[in-house]
């Protein structure tokens, strides 16, 4: 009888450990895979700078044109565009309806020339709103 009880406890502990181990695997398996969403958000951030550079919105600091682009991006995106002159923030535009900066998932940066000679640095941060 005593032997039986010891054996049952042994099994119970083994089973408990198995369940804990299985549960751990179940809940962590998804996180072990690569998440490519951030790669696409990075592309969107880079594209934002490229398009605004190509259509001269960046170099003219066109408020209307920049906001028009930011607001036409998908509803779930929040975007913040910052233009630096050296380390000083020269211009900042936040997509309408977005508030505080969230967990930034997409980041794009590029250097551009405006006013013929001045070199500026543009940065786009993108997150889910």
């Amino acid at each position: 009888m005593g032997k039986g009880i010891i054996f049952s406890l042994d099994v119970m502990i083994a089973l408990l450990l198995s369940v804990i181990f299985s549960t751990f695997i179940f809940f962590n398996i998804d996180q072990s895979f690569s998440n490519y969403d951030e790669l696409f958000l990075h592309k969107t951030a880079t594209d934002t700078l490229t398009v605004l550079r190509e259509d001269t919105s960046l170099e003219t600091f066109s408020n209307e044109s920049i906001y028009s682009f930011l607001n036409s991006l998908p509803e779930q995106y929040c975007v913040n565009l910052t233009i630096y002159d050296d380390n000083r923030i020269l211009y900042n535009a936040l997509k309408s309806g977005c508030n505080a900066e969230g967990n930034v998932l997409g980041l794009g940066r590029r250097v551009f020339i405006a006013n013929s000679t001045s070199v500026y640095f543009g940065e786009v941060k993108l997150w889910y709103g």
């Binding site: 099994v11 089973l15 299985s22 790669l39 696409f40 592309k43 969107t44 190509e54």
Partner: protein
């Protein structure tokens, strides 16, 4: 004594077998679950990598050879054109209209196009949509007339802003020099606008939707029994509508986009439908990877929407 020992032994075996089967079943269930999860994730990874490299190739490069768009369509295959690209320059950011037009032509042979684009195996398909990028939000500065969940017997006629939601209008709706927002409603007559913006969604119009000197006209997921007609300017976005009559927009109207409309009559859009669709639309497919890119096309801001999906 023997009987007593045998009974004890049977319970022991029974418990052991039960535990063994439980552990075995759990093991196979876990194994099966992990296999399915990994397989599904592998397929998604595969499609993601295809979508990512394809979008980069199409948007960021001009293709190889660089002048592939000058080739005769019948001579374009994976040997003559190892890489398709739509960019005007190596810096990306701007698409070449001629290359876009040629790609649309190549869509007539979808399997050949898929082959050139390098989409192979796994029953993968693709869908590419190149359309204008615009802000469809109509800023509402307050209403001069509003209706919410009511039935209006008679015409609604206003010089200014009108908002109609979840209403039935037994008559016409006419708005001049303002904005009309009409959602999930029924109009038994015509909707007539002059020099006004329109946002219409989920609405049934028994008559015509007629816009003269229009502003931004956005019509989606609506049923118009008569004609949708635009004259003298304005911009039109029409998607997912059922139109019983004709869909007409004159040459002075910019067609932002006209897609997925079921039109029983004639379609007469002087400036085209504003969007290029290539490949096969995934519909309700479960496994779809979407990549959105932003570029310029003929100086206009444009969205390139690429979907790679698993067939079946």
């Amino acid at each position: 004594m023997l009987l007593h020992k045998g009974q004890f032994f049977s319970v022991d075996i029974f418990l052991s077998v039960l535990l063994f089967l439980t552990i075995l079943t759990s093991f196979f269930a876990t194994h099966s679950y992990l296999n399915r999860t990994i397989e599904s994730q592998e397929v998604k990874n595969d499609m993601t990598l295809i979508a990512n490299s394809l979008s980069s190739s199409l948007v960021d490069t001009g293709g190889y050879p660089d002048n592939w768009e000058t080739f005769d369509s019948s001579n374009i295959n994976k040997n003559t054109v190892p890489a398709l690209g739509l960019s005007r320059n190596t810096d990306g950011g701007s698409l070449d209209q001629d290359k876009v037009n040629k790609l649309v032509q190549l869509n007539s042979s979808y399997s050949n196009l898929k082959d050139i684009l390098g989409i192979k195996g796994g029953g993968y398909e693709f869908y590419l949509k190149i359309s204008g990028l615009f802000n469809l939000e109509i800023i509402n500065n307050g209403e001069d007339y509003s209706c919410n969940g009511q039935t209006i017997n008679g015409n609604v006629q206003e010089n200014g802003n009108v908002a109609i939601q979840d209403c039935t209008v037994n008559g016409n709706v006419q708005v001049d020099d303002g904005k009309l927002k009409i959602l999930r409603s029924v109009v038994t007559g015509n909707v007539i606008l002059r020099n006004s913006d329109l946002e219409m969604a989920g609405t049934n119009v028994d008559g015509n939707l007629q816009v003269n000197e229009g502003g931004i006209i956005v019509v989606s997921d609506s049923i118009i029994d008569g004609n949708l007609q635009m004259t003298n300017g304005g911009s039109l976005y029409a998607a997912g509508n059922s139109i019983g009559g004709n869909l007409e927009a004159g040459c002075s109207t910019t067609v932002l986009e006209s897609t997925n409309n079921d039109v029983e009559g004639d379609i007469d859009l002087c400036n085209g439908d504003g969007a290029y669709e290539i490949g096969i639309y995934p519909g309700n497919a479960e496994n779809v990877v979407i990549v959105e890119r932003y570029v310029l096309l003929k100086g206009n801001r444009t969205k390139v929407n690429l979907m790679v999906w698993e067939n079946g």
